[in-house]
Amino acid sequence: MKRFIEAGKILLANWLGTLLETLLETLREIFDEAAYARFLARTQTASSATAYAAFREEFEEAKARRPKCC
């Protein structure tokens, strides 16, 4: 029984961990943090005000063209 509960706890912890990880990843995508990270990786630059400005410039039109529903 004890082993069963222990296994259940581990399973639950793993599941919660995955859930939180996915949630955070989703938020990072929605909030464009992931897009910025990809931009840095693609251009092989470190995060800075200049890099962020370049990212926004590249990203600006795509972002502004994205419709938001009513």
């Binding site: 996915t22 990843e25 989703t26 938020l27 990072r28 995508e29 929605i30 909030f31 464009d32 943090e33 897009a35 910025y36 990270a37 990809r38 931009f39 990786a41 693609r42 995060s47 800075s48 005000a49 890099a51 962020y52 400005a53 990212f55 926004r56 590249e58 990203f59 600006e60 039109e61 795509a62 972002k63 502004a64 063209r65 994205r66 419709p67 938001k68 529903c69 009513c70």
Partner: protein, 705 residues
């Protein structure tokens, strides 16, 4: 010996097979029993919601009915569409994989795409529409939201997403042009522009109605502008790219602004500055819309978008939990006397107006733009389109159910006092309460005074538009679990801020999207006008778009019937028109895929939408009742005393009638073109070839998706 082992092996295999078969049978039995129980519970809940009369019912019945319907719809109907019609292929590489460029096209985790898609489709529509339609009672809205979403809205989002995925992420306009013809593409383009303009006018009007004569609300919303600018600068200069962090900071600052709003409303000198009449607020919002369209995205639009998404996702989650935990009683009857078309919130019978008023929670053409916009470029596997397309729309529909619950948990008298324009119920509190009580929904001026005081407002009468009624309902639900009556005012202003914030985000983003569309079109006439970075073009096209929706806003503000009466149905018609275009595209593709026997899946919602759109348009243009028909109202006004205001109202009514007629003609055009295509394909006169990208085998490993 060998023979004996062989025999033992056979016996073993036989036992394994028997065990496997038993386990499969057991699984099947459990599945049948579980889904049978869900169906029974759903049927019972729908039965209670539909049949119960007299005593108020608990909101949990609505929650149970909705949950069971969504579960059954997803498990069975969407699966049927996925396997029988669309034949989703997990081995076919999606554009996210084939065209991956790290920017637009990107293989993304399915839950991330789901969140992204939901955040884009969920706006103020599913909150406002159901609140307005609650004037018919909770039943028509609830049934339409459930049936509409499961059989129409979710289907539209799902099939359009999949068809776009199979066409390299093409937009609805491009697909309409390719599959239906030039007319389809042209109508889709016109419908998008029309929807955007009308939508922006209506959205701005909702904000004006929520903030007029409310120093607390106006202060809070005004503060979101410097907060957004601060966030923009923080992101650019102090902590580049830390969006979640700055959104959290922005959220804390907004909460401080709500708290500061209370001080503002209680300090006479400051309160006077922020107590604005509707026309003044309208002018400010028009100026704001122009500025938001013309200033760089990073400075205002992007941070406000982040802030509103942060607040939106959190608040919707909180409201869902609040409703389940507190399960309020629905005081509104299942059906009110206003199903006959005499409603004070907006005029018109339950058919077709309930189905025009509730668009986003049941079916929204606008979703087709998102399903054929960013989302198809992120999908890793075709099979995920079911969860993202069908599933996200189900969640949006659940938000609409929450809005119905929030509105119907108010006492009906209070609901009508908030949502009825002065032109219908009377100018004074005494007149309004007498009119509403005479309808059989008792309410007193003292009740309304107490409620206004509790939420920190001077008055709650004539707050048309749906947002204030939703805010009162939401504040009541929140205050019952957190802080009690003491915090009711804070919760009310939190709700107003929440709605106004993301309505203004729609305003910013919509104005800019429309500006780009106009610039793209004008670029064909004179090249520099198409350049999105050329300031003369930016200013001219921004002014054009803002003037267009600003006109509708001004018209709504000056309308003695509150504006929403005319403008919301217009928006509903425009939105359902776009859904009609999307369903025409979907049906055409299904027929071309040789799945004609299943075409009813999109054809029936299409027929329903055409019936609704045509009937609503006929009423709005030609109905002899001046509260419903634009032309009848113009005639009544023309017969009265001639004043400059009358002349303007007559012109506005005729303009609305003309806009509605143009929208209907557009529907008719695209329908005729589609039917011509179907006939040609079915009779063999036209080649039945879908314009899909060629099949390429996926190379993605399972763990990447």
């Amino acid at each position: 010996m060998l023979g004996g082992r062989k025999l033992a092996g056979h016996e073993f295999a036989g036992q394994e097979l028997a065990r496997y078969s038993l386990s499969m049978n057991m699984k099947k039995t459990i599945s049948v029993l579980t889904w049978g129980a869900v169906a029974l519970l759903g049927a019972a809940a729908i039965g209670v919601v539909a049949v119960h009369r007299g005593e108020p019912i608990n909101a949990l019945w609505l929650v149970a009915a909705a949950t069971c319907c969504y579960a059954l719809g997803y498990r069975f109907y969407s699966r049927f569409i996925a396997t029988k019609i669309l034949v989703l292929d997990a081995l076919r590489a999606t554009p996210a994989e084939r065209l991956e460029n790290g920017r637009d096209f990107l293989v993304t985790n399915k839950w991330v795409v789901f969140g992204h898609h939901f955040a884009a489709i969920a706006g103020p529509g599913p909150l406002v529409g159901p609140v307005l339609a609650a004037q018919f009672g909770y039943l028509p809205g609830t049934l339409w939201i459930l049936a509409g979403a499961i059989f129409a809205g979710c289907v539209q989002d799902f099939v359009i997403l999949l068809f776009s995925v199979r066409r390299d992420g093409k937009s609805l306009t491009e697909m309409a042009k390719e599959e239906i013809g030039q007319v389809g593409g042209f109508v889709a383009y016109g419908a998008v522009i029309a929807i955007l303009i009308i939508l922006l006018g209506v959205c701005a009007l909702i904000v004006v109605n929520a903030l007029k004569d409310s120093p607390w609300g106006t202060f809070t919303i005004a503060m979101t502008i410097p907060i957004a600018l601060l966030m923009g600068l923080y992101l650019r200069r102090i902590r580049p790219g830390k969006v979640l962090e700055v959104s959290f900071i922005g959220f804390v600052l907004v909460l401080l602004a709500i708290w500061g709003g209370q001080w503002t409303s209680e300090t006479l000198a400051v309160a006077q500055i922020f107590t604005l009449r509707a026309p003044t607020l309208a002018i400010f919002i028009i100026i704001y819309g122009f500025a938001a369209s013309a200033v760089p995205v990073w400075l205002l639009l992007a941070p406000r978008d982040y802030l509103s998404t942060f607040v939106k996702l959190g608040t919707i989650g909180m409201l869902g939990i609040g409703i389940v935990v507190l399960h309020p009683t629905l005081h509104m009857p299942a059906l009110t006397r206003f199903v006959d078309g005499t409603g004070p919130v907006f005029a018109g019978k339950v058919f077709p107006f309930a189905f025009i008023t509730i668009a986003c929670g049941a079916i929204s053409g606008f979703h087709a733009l998102i399903s054929s916009g960013t989302t198809p470029k992120l999908i890793a596997r075709e099979t995920q389109t079911r969860m993202v397309g069908y599933g996200a729309m189900m969640c949006e529909s659940a938000v609409a159910i929450m809005a119905i619950i929030a509105a119907c948990s108010l006492q009906p008298g209070v609901y009508f006092a908030i949502n009825s324009p002065a032109g219908v119920v009377g100018q004074t509190a005494t007149a309004a309460t007498a009119t509403i009580s005479n309808w059989g929904f008792p309410v007193t001026a003292a009740d309304m005074r107490t409620l206004s005081h509790a939420v920190g407002e001077q008055t709650l009468f004539n707050r048309t538009g749906g947002a204030p009624a939703f805010a009162v309902g939401m504040a009541r639900i929140f205050s019952q679990s957190l802080g009690g009556e003491r915090l009711m005012a804070l919760w009310y202003h939190f709700a107003v801020m929440f709605e106004a914030l993301f309505i203004l985000t729609v305003l910013d983003a919509g104005t800019r999207v429309a500006r780009f569309m106009i610039q793209d079109a004008l670029g064909h006439i004179y090249k520099p006008l198409g350049r999105t970075s050329w300031y003369p073009s930016i200013l001219a096209t921004s002014a054009l778009i803002v003037a267009a929706w600003g006109y509708f806003l001004w018209q709504g503000v000056k309308d003695p019937l509150g504006g929403i009466n005319s403008l919301w149905p217009l928006f509903g018609i425009a939105n359902q028109l776009l859904a009609t275009v999307a369903l025409c595209v979907a049906t055409t593709i299904i027929i071309k895929m040789h799945r004609t026997r299943y075409a009813a899946v999109t054809l029936l919602p299409l027929i329903w939408l055409v019936a609704v759109t045509f009937a609503a348009s006929w009423h709005k243009v030609l109905d002899p009742n001046p509260r419903v028909g634009f032309l009848a109202q113009a005639r009544v006004l023309a017969a009265g005393p001639a004043t400059p205001a009358t002349a303007r109202l007559i012109f506005n009514n005729r303009l609305d009638a003309a806009v509605t007629t143009i929208l209907v003609l557009m529907v008719a055009l695209v329908l005729i073109e589609s039917v011509r295509q179907w006939m040609a394909v079915l009779s063999g006169k036209s080649e039945s070839r879908v314009k899909e990208s060629p099949f390429v085998m996926t190379r993605l490993a399972e763990e990447r998706v």
